[in-house]
Symmetry: C2
Subunit: 332 residues, 2 copies
């Protein structure tokens, strides 16, 4: 086994847009395992929008990613060496192992996974944090009733694609918002959304009106900015808004919200959430999501970047919407 | 008894700011009562910010006030003639009798009131709709815990003054925002707020920071605009925001909200509400509020305009913050 671990560090914080220059690839000798530790060879790294928040040191729910340390992030891999009684060589695991080829763990927050019916990489997406995020926001905040209209932004993404499909399974009208005709076609034709609005087509307001003839009862917001504003203006009385992400504002000055009065006039509930604060629902949610994937009732798509070196560029691309579905890095 | 009823009609909708020209005083003969009706001589009319919303015909929770009809509004008065089995001459009542000297009713939504321990006019304010609004938003949305910091805007107003006093009774730090040193002094010295920030002093951000050293756990929003934005920026994790009013935006273009990301980063709940949709809590709330007033544990202040003719000017003044406490019109 190699004694060298290739790692990507965060070396500077973005001024404006995140860039590949904020990261650096280093090679570090692997330290010997202590008792109670095990070592994981990562197979796939997860790239997620929340990581952009960690790169800044502004007030947020999570501490900033420290500079000159391995970039935080979930990964799936295989145990290759163990001094831990519960993890054996050959076990497949998911955990927060970071942007590196080898993770070292004491088992905290690590889960063994079974790739017989669900592919390994799916545990980073549809049967992982993004899937549970969709499940929580939809079921616990929006609480959809059959016949209601649910709008989700970033509809072809790792979270949005699950929101729309779960909404359809709940008997709702699912309307997506996504960037470009290809993503919209995918949402409708493959994922089964009733409609999907291309926000890049320049007719966001008119197109969303047409796609939601009965207004909007639930909004699952991943994007913020003009997309969020436009959806708010369509909300029906007693609508529910799950505020999950604001990817449009990570890099820039905040885009102001103009439809504030709607909160009052339509008696809305808006709720921000972070899925790691609701660990009690994870087992049930993961069980349901895994079963739906195994039965091919829940579809997903991945954009795969090859090799650790490709992670920074893939991450920046994802922030700009260049990915399609869940963005992962396959380590080679 | 006079056969003439003096009434104020809404005759045009505001383009921008509401003005006295939107109203007209008319004299109308009183129609004879039908069986099941009774007639009320109004003693006090209630003027409330929500009425500004009714003057426009934009999408809202209530239908617009029709043009050329008597302006909607709550009033207290005395039954002076009755063909209704449950209401007798001499009964004191509160109901939605409108801006006129005489209301005619079939009893729907009318409540008999006792002015032995609580003054008649208080049933339009602290022991009426504004009081119940404060009670609902604070107890059911913010749900304050002892030791938390609660911020309320329009702190010396009919709703805000009750919010702050109930928050103090719940063991919280109550911080008001109001316009001008006199209103702020009243909030602290008479109502017992811990602090009150004068938004007209030009240091809203700095002064609110100083007044909320531990951040803000609950926000009761009556104003909107910059006041709301500034409070949002101070919210602690899992803070609750009761969105009750947006008086700053009724007349003007909406003031955009810049602190949208806080909903996510602090996992806030924002909830708009209209107290008439929660009729189940009214009896309990009114009982508690009436008891507190009778025991002089709940203070309130009124601005009284004299005579029906004065109602339009008093209403416009209230929208501009010229009232102090609950704005009423005493009919003479």
């Amino acid at each position: 086994m190699t004694a060298i671990n290739r790692q990507i560090l965060l070396v500077s914080r973005p001024q404006g847009a995140a860039s590949v220059d904020n990261f650096r690839l280093v090679e570090t000798p692997l330290a010997p395992l202590a008792d109670g530790q095990f070592r994981v060879r990562n197979h796939y790294l997860s790239l997620d929008p929340y990581m952009r928040g960690r790169m800044s040191d502004s007030k947020s729910y999570a501490k900033p990613q420290p500079l000159d340390e391995v970039m935080i992030g979930g990964a799936v891999g295989e145990v290759v060496e163990s001094k831990h009684r519960s993890f054996a060589v050959g076990d497949k695991v998911v955990g927060v192992f970071g942007w590196q080829e080898y993770g070292t763990s004491d088992g905290y927050g690590v889960t063994k996974i079974d790739d017989a019916r669900v592919p390994l990489s799916a545990y980073l997406g549809v049967v992982g944090m993004p899937g549970v995020t969709a499940w929580y926001g939809l079921n616990r905040i929006i609480a959809p009733q059959a016949g209601e209209t649910i709008v989700v932004s970033a509809a072809s993404g790792a979270v949005g694609s699950v929101v729309g499909q779960l909404a359809k399974l709940a008997g709702c009208r699912a309307v997506g918002i996504a960037g470009g005709p290809e993503k919209c076609r995918y949402a409708v034709e493959t994922l089964g959304f009733d409609a999907c609005v291309d926000y890049k087509a320049g007719r966001l307001h008119e197109d969303l009106d047409s796609a939601t003839p009965n207004g909007v009862d639930g909004c699952f917001e991943n994007v913020g900015g003009a997309v969020f504003d436009t959806t708010l203006a369509r909300m029906n009385a007693h609508g529910r808004v799950a505020v999950c992400g604001m990817i449009s504002r990570y890099d820039a000055k905040p885009v102001p919200l103009t439809q504030v009065g709607v909160i009052l006039t339509q008696r809305l509930v808006l709720q921000g959430f972070v899925v790691y604060e609701h660990l009690d629902i994870w087992p049930d949610a993961l069980k349901q999501l895994g079963e739906l994937v195994a039965q091919q009732k829940l579809h997903y798509r991945e954009t795969v970047a090859l090799g650790l070196d490709a992670a920074p560029q893939a991450f920046v691309g994802m922030l700009n919407g260049q990915n399609f579905g869940k963005q992962i890095v396959k380590l080679i």
